[in-house]
Amino acid sequence: MAEKNDGTVTVEVEKRLEDIFREDGESFDFLEENDDSEDSSPVELEVSPDFLEDNSSLEHSPPRELEETSGFEEDGSGLDQSPLKDLKTIVLSIDWEINDEDMTRFVDQVETLKLVYEYDRVILLFLQILVSLGKYIRANKGNSHPNAIKVLNSVYTSLEKVLLQKDVTAAEKEKILLVEVQRFKELEEQVALKRAAAHRKKDTKSPQEAEAKSKGKENDMAPIEKSRPPGSAEEVVSRPDMNRMAPHEAFAYALEEIKQMIKAEFMALRAELKLWREGQ
């Protein structure tokens, strides 16, 4: 029986190959297309120009260029003297790998910088946003919203610009800050949406568990709602207004908002951690 099967397969294969690779007698000048002329000399190890070692070019290898996509400042000299130098190293390494150690170093470094810049409100706010992002990513790692790391990079880039570029006025600094605040707020919304979607997914998977959890969930969400400033319902509407405010007015408003937001963010983080621990 086995042999019969063997035979059938072989026959089928051979027939198939015959069909596919029948040589029809179509004229086909394969020979002419190949210029290779056989030589009778022994095979030499041919080396193409690419493989020739050009030692002179190796001596002065240029310093590694910063990746364009991160949009990092390429003003090397300013950075060397700046307190941002260590933070930059960490941010670059986070771009390549996110782990507990580096995220902790990041948060610690930003906290240290907060002491250095405690009298500069704009810088301080940048740093507060960075701490918030750092702690969020550290706590959530792979479950972080994918945009979190992008916003972190963006905020850092703007911070670098504000600190190191010589020709930036105070008003411009505030403007740059506002842009980052906006990004941060959008991220916060995205994170909230993601959380809501995740909870909904858990609900559909197990309705009984969902009922028990839903009460708990509401409690967890509540603190975030309460801590928002009374005008928060108008937040969505007020954003366009901010653009029409004078920079210093908008700045003061944003300052207040950020303070509230960061407070809320910490509470949300704690709530998430609690949920995660419960889930373990």
């Binding site: 390549w96 790998e97 996110i98 994918p146 790391i149």
Partner: protein, 130 residues
């Protein structure tokens, strides 16, 4: 080492790759063996790459790089990643015999992608390990 993957296991692998990577925004992901055979392959619906050639080259590439690592006295490199202008490609070993290859655009940071890949690899390992 011989592996036998049935429909159920392959379905789970598809699910893992979809949830951890494609849903994240990765353009294309494929799981291959070290000989370049395609075990699973998913994309975002817009990819028209020649998966079989990519797989053969990926396996060859990874193999070549592994040999280089040995020559310089390393067991293996922890990162094999090629950065392109629009798309980049990341390789991750899955146990000794498989390779997870991910193609992604500029919107995803490498650091974050590596986290998600590690998660996916962990889940696939649990499935493949006897």
């Amino acid at each position: 080492m011989e592996y036998s993957l049935g429909q159920e296991e392959l379905d789970v692998i598809d699910e893992v790759l979809q949830e951890n990577l494609i849903d994240l925004g990765v353009n294309c992901v494929f799981l291959i063996d070290m000989a370049g055979n395609v075990i699973a392959n998913l994309d975002n619906g817009q990819m028209e790459h020649d998966i079989y050639s990519l797989a053969a080259l990926a396996a060859g590439n990874f193999g070549a790089v592994s040999e280089m690592a040995k020559i310089i006295g390393e067991d293996e490199f922890s990162l094999l990643f090629h950065k392109g202008e629009k798309e980049s490609i990341h390789f991750s070993k899955v146990m000794a015999d498989f390779l997870l290859v991910t193609i992604f655009g500029k919107e995803i940071s490498l650091g974050f992608l590596r986290l998600k890949v590690a998660e996916a690899v962990g889940k696939i390992k649990n499935l493949l390990e006897p």
